[in-house]
């Protein structure tokens, strides 16, 4: 039996649920693996895990938000033969990764204002916060399985990898980014009929009656599909909700936010440029209130924008 440890970092629980929902496939995996740690599923103590000499497969879920997270991620990963970053937080920093723009102390200060309680972390015995990171900022995992939460497509691929590893003791590649290496547009169920995307402006969801057969961008709704890795079978889009980019960029290491900014800028009001001129276009672009939150909802921590922030802050 191989040893499988599932380590949760700063996590919302979605990844846990997704992994637990594997059901029969999980049973299949358990023919080869013994779960040595997974707080929500098995009653194994962390101290046991820390004492182990090696772990075969380590699945890390969630962002790194506390010193405890960072320590676990580093120490345990060193013992693991195969490291899996599961979920967008783990791979790209995810939504908690947006916090990376701020110092932990400032975040605590802001929360204090909101909850009207003095949050002296040490005094309350709270974990010491660190600058928010992705798991991939600490180690270089062999398997990257993004998704918020990880999708069936990604989990199926992960299952396959785990089973193959159990049987052959080998991985197919040094680094594997799960999902399909194309963007969501490739197999978009909307199957657009027109040849152009002349985006008619920027609309919020409540402002339009969305035609479920037409491209979101053509209807003025921001959709991150063009630059987002196809890790799913378009559940959001099928439910008439645009892609918000949890799959991350198509290629590991590239920057989907900048690409999407460029794509969007290109197609926005493309037929009315000479009529609206700069002021008219600016007025429309001002409807995007939060550029980082819009284009880097999930991937800020691993982006060039974040690198730029460090550069500007004199850190990094």
């Amino acid at each position: 039996m191989l040893k499988l440890a599932v380590i949760p970092g700063g996590i919302c629980g979605g990844c846990d649920v997704a992994l637990a929902s594997l059901g029969e496939k999980l049973a299949e995996i358990l023919k080869y693996y013994e779960i040595v740690y997974w707080p929500i599923a098995v009653d194994k103590k962390l101290s046991n895990l820390m004492n182990m000499n090696h772990i075969d497969v380590l699945i890390y879920m969630g962002a790194i938000t506390t010193e405890e997270d960072a320590k676990l991620a580093k120490e345990l990963s060193a013992k693991a033969r195969v490291r899996v970053a599961l979920g967008t937080c783990s791979v790209y920093g995810g939504i908690p990764g947006l916090n990376a723009l701020y110092k932990p102390a400032d975040i605590i200060k802001t929360i204090s204002l909101l909850v009207d309680t003095k949050l002296e972390s040490s005094a309350l015995g709270l974990p010491q916060p660190v600058q928010h990171m992705a798991y991939t900022d600490v180690v270089e995992p062999e398997v990257l399985a993004p998704g918020c939460p990880p999708t069936d497509k990604v989990l199926d691929q992960l299952t396959e990898i785990l089973l193959n590893y159990a049987k052959s003791g080998k991985l197919e590649a040094r680094t594997m980014l799960l999902g399909d290496s194309e963007s969501l547009c490739n197999n978009c169920p909307r199957n657009p009929k027109t040849t152009k995307i002349a985006m008619p402006g920027i609309k919020r969801l409540y402002e339009v009656k969305l035609d479920s057969n037409k491209c979101f961008l053509e209807q003025g709704v921001l959709c991150m599909g063009p630059a987002t890795r196809a890790i799913c079978t378009h559940p959001c889009i099928k439910f008439n909700y645009p892609c918000i980019g949890c799959g991350g960029p198509v290629e590991w290491g590239s920057d989907s936010g900048l690409s999407m900014i460029s794509t969007l800028a290109s197609v926005l009001l493309v037929d009315d440029e000479k009529k609206l001129l700069e002021p008219g276009l600016a007025r429309e672009l001002n409807k995007i209130r939060d550029v980082l939150g819009t284009f880097y909802k999930y991937t800020l921590r691993k982006s060039k924008a974040y690198a730029l922030k460090n550069k500007a802050g004199g850190e990094g």
Binding site: E182, S183, L184, C185, N186, P192, T194, T195, K196, I197, A198, C215, G225, P226, A227, V250, E251, S254, S256, S259, M260, S262, T263, S266, V267, V270, D271, D272, K275
Partner: protein
């Protein structure tokens, strides 16, 4: 690296630059020379390439606009492809604009570093040359289309002229006389119609529409759908027996509903082709016409057909329609209310028209004594058409003048916002109308209605200069509707003609290139580009013909190979590049983008747009661009 005498070497330490450039990655050989563009200078490059087996060359000298070609030739002579050579300007961008030797030297190194970085990603390409089919298609047989077709034919270029209706001639054929000279429209148009019909190089298809267009400049494959005429043109003798026996009577398009015609008819006497036509929509297939036709020219069984033509260039001259007056209900438009549009008034004035030139009320035939003209109906109004339709001021003056000449005891009132009479003889013409007694009222009409008791047309408005409401009881009201483009969306998309929000074709440059659109090989003439009078349409049609001939007579197009190319494995078919391409050079084929190399101009907008980096401008790939940026920063 060139000294350009002292032009560069006077400010830049050339020796130091050469030393530093030698340290750049992949630089095998670097040298300087006093005048690189001279014969020995060029030899230096050629020998270096051969001796050191170089696979790329950077020339740092004056500007590429001066000597790019010189060194490109030298590079080719050395056996290299010209696209693995880069030239950067040190003279214009550096030595001539800076005085500090150290700083200028450093900047020169940086500039050369960008070129070296770019060159590392450059690949050799060959120029494409494409033969052009020496034949043109003209869409629309109005005065613009006829002019363009004739002009091309006279230059020896075969032309296909496609017209939607049963006759060519367009709107001009409906006109009575033309401003400002009052030539009879028919007298000047019909000879041209006959000439174009007679010309051996012009093939006219009437009742025809473009069904599909494929291909690109030099080689368009065009499918033309031809509706059945029901009458063999060559056999029709215009005897009119068929018309007399036809039991069906419908309103005449040519007279804009002011008269009736039969289901077998000729649009007007001088129609081209000169033959009757069956209106299959209204024909009840009774067969009487077939029986009476002495030459057996009528065939009610004729079917629609589609023909295919290949042409090298296309001129779009689809003309205009009038703004639909139903959209302005307060003006009670309709002949039954004696409120008519300007083209209907042209028909009334015409001796061939429904009233044989007598100005009578359409509703009851009563002679018209008092007529009110209203300008800017729909035009210059953000609620309808924000633009000025340009010709209404002039034809309204013409209408008023012709009416007053026709009915000497008549009264003509013209409601106007401004009178726009910019054109040779135009202002004088308006004055002439006014001298004839046309009363111009500055102000707008709020409503028009038919007084059912008296039969009068009541026009209510406001006279801005008299500062009071004004009500005119008239016999007839003539509206001057705005001009709208007759170009339909499907045709525009097929031809990749960019259009503005009013479906007027957008020329590629409003000043320098007024008859070309962004899609190469497509030209525009007449009202498809915007409202125009006859001389303007003819001038533009002649220009479009000249531009098309430029292309067709040369016989080929040569293309720089520096165009975009698609990595089909990466492409996600999102269509962003198709949207952003100003030339319609990209299309989606089997779910992925494909670049038409002949049409692409190499601007690179698609490369910056692509969300997944699948489409790249050759030799200006994203990675090259990033490397250029990094190279500058690497120089210390």
């Amino acid at each position: 690296m060139c000294h350009c005498g002292v032009n560069i070497a006077g400010t830049v330490d050339v020796k130091k630059v050469v030393e530093e450039v030698k340290k750049l990655p992949d630089v095998v050989y670097a040298a300087d020379y006093v005048y690189l563009c001279s014969q020995p200078g060029q030899e230096l490059i050629i020998n270096a390439v051969k001796e050191h087996k170089l696979d790329g060359v950077v020339v740092a000298a004056c500007t590429p606009s001066l000597h790019y070609e010189t060194f490109a030739k030298a590079v080719e002579k050395a056996g290299l492809n010209r696209y693995v050579y880069e030239m950067v300007s040190i003279r214009e961008f550096d030595s001539w604009v800076h005085a500090d030797r150290a700083l200028a030297t450093e900047k020169a190194i940086k500039i050369i570093a960008t070129a070296v970085a770019k060159l590392r990603g450059d690949k050799p390409y060959e120029r494409a040359r494409l033969d052009v089919i020496r034949k043109a298609l003209v869409v629309g047989g109005g005065i613009a289309g006829i002019t363009a077709a004739l002009s091309l034919a006279k230059m020896g270029i075969p032309v296909i002229l496609v017209e939607k209706y049963a006759t060519i001639g367009g709107k001009m054929a409906m006109l009575h006389e033309t401003f400002p000279t009052l030539d009879c429209a028919q007298c000047i148009l019909t000879p041209l119609m006959a000439e174009v019909a007679r010309h051996p190089l012009v093939k006219i298809y009437t009742l025809a529409e473009v069904d599909s267009v494929e291909g690109h400049v030099g080689k368009f494959k065009v499918k033309i759908k031809i509706r059945p005429r029901g009458v063999r043109v060559e056999d029709c003798r215009l005897c009119g027996f068929c018309e007399r026996v036809c039991p069906i009577s419908v309103s005449s398009e040519f007279d804009r509903g002011l008269s009736k015609r039969k289901a077998i008819y000729i649009p007007f006497a001088q129609a081209v082709p000169s033959a009757y036509v069956v209106d299959f929509e209204h024909c009840n297939r009774c067969g009487l016409c077939v029986k009476v036709c002495p030459t057996k020219a009528v065939n009610l069984e004729e079917k629609e057909r589609v023909i295919e033509e290949e042409v090298g260039a296309i001129i779009v001259a689809t003309g205009y329609e009038l703004y639909p007056l139903e959209k302005i209900p307060e003006y009670s438009y309709g002949p039954e209310n004696d409120v008519i549009d300007s083209l209907q008034f042209e028909r009334i004035l015409s001796v061939q028209g429904p009233t044989r030139g007598e100005v009578k009320r359409p509703s009851d035939g009563k002679p018209v004594k008092r007529v009110v003209f209203i300008q800017c109906v729909g035009s210059r109004d953000v609620n309808h058409l924000p633009y000025c339709s340009k010709i209404c001021c002039m034809y309204t003056a013409k209408h008023a003048l012709l009416f007053l000449e026709n009915v000497p005891d008549g009264e003509a009132y013209v409601f106007y916002i401004d009178v726009r009479a910019a054109g040779k003889g135009f202002e004088e013409f308006v004055k002439r109308a006014q001298e004839h007694g046309a009363v111009y009222i500055k102000g707008r009409v709020s409503r028009i209605y038919k007084d059912k008791l008296t039969g009068d047309v009541v026009v209510e408005g406001f006279d801005l200069l008299e500062n009071r409401e004004i009500v005119i009881r008239a016999d007839l009201a003539v509206l001057a509707p705005g001009i709208v483009s007759a170009l339909d969306k499907r045709l525009a998309e097929m031809l990749k003609v960019p259009v503005d929000q009013f479906m007027f074709a957008a020329e590629i440059h409003p000043k320098l290139r007024p008859v070309e659109v962004a899609s190469a090989g497509i030209f525009i003439a007449g009202c498809v580009q915007g409202p125009k009078d006859i001389p303007d349409s003819i001038a533009q049609a002649s220009a479009a013909a000249a531009k098309a001939a430029e292309l067709l007579i040369q016989g080929y197009v040569e293309k720089e190979p520096i165009v975009a190319e698609v990595d089909r494995d990466k492409c996600n078919g999102c269509r962003a590049c198709v949207t952003v391409c100003p030339y319609g050079a990209i299309e989606i084929v089997e779910g992925k983008a494909r670049v038409n190399e002949i049409v692409c101009e190499g601007c690179g907008a698609c490369t910056a747009t692509c969300p997944v980096g699948a489409i790249q401008l050759r030799n200006y790939r994203e990675e090259q661009a990033l490397e250029m940026v990094r190279a500058v920063m690497r120089v210390r």
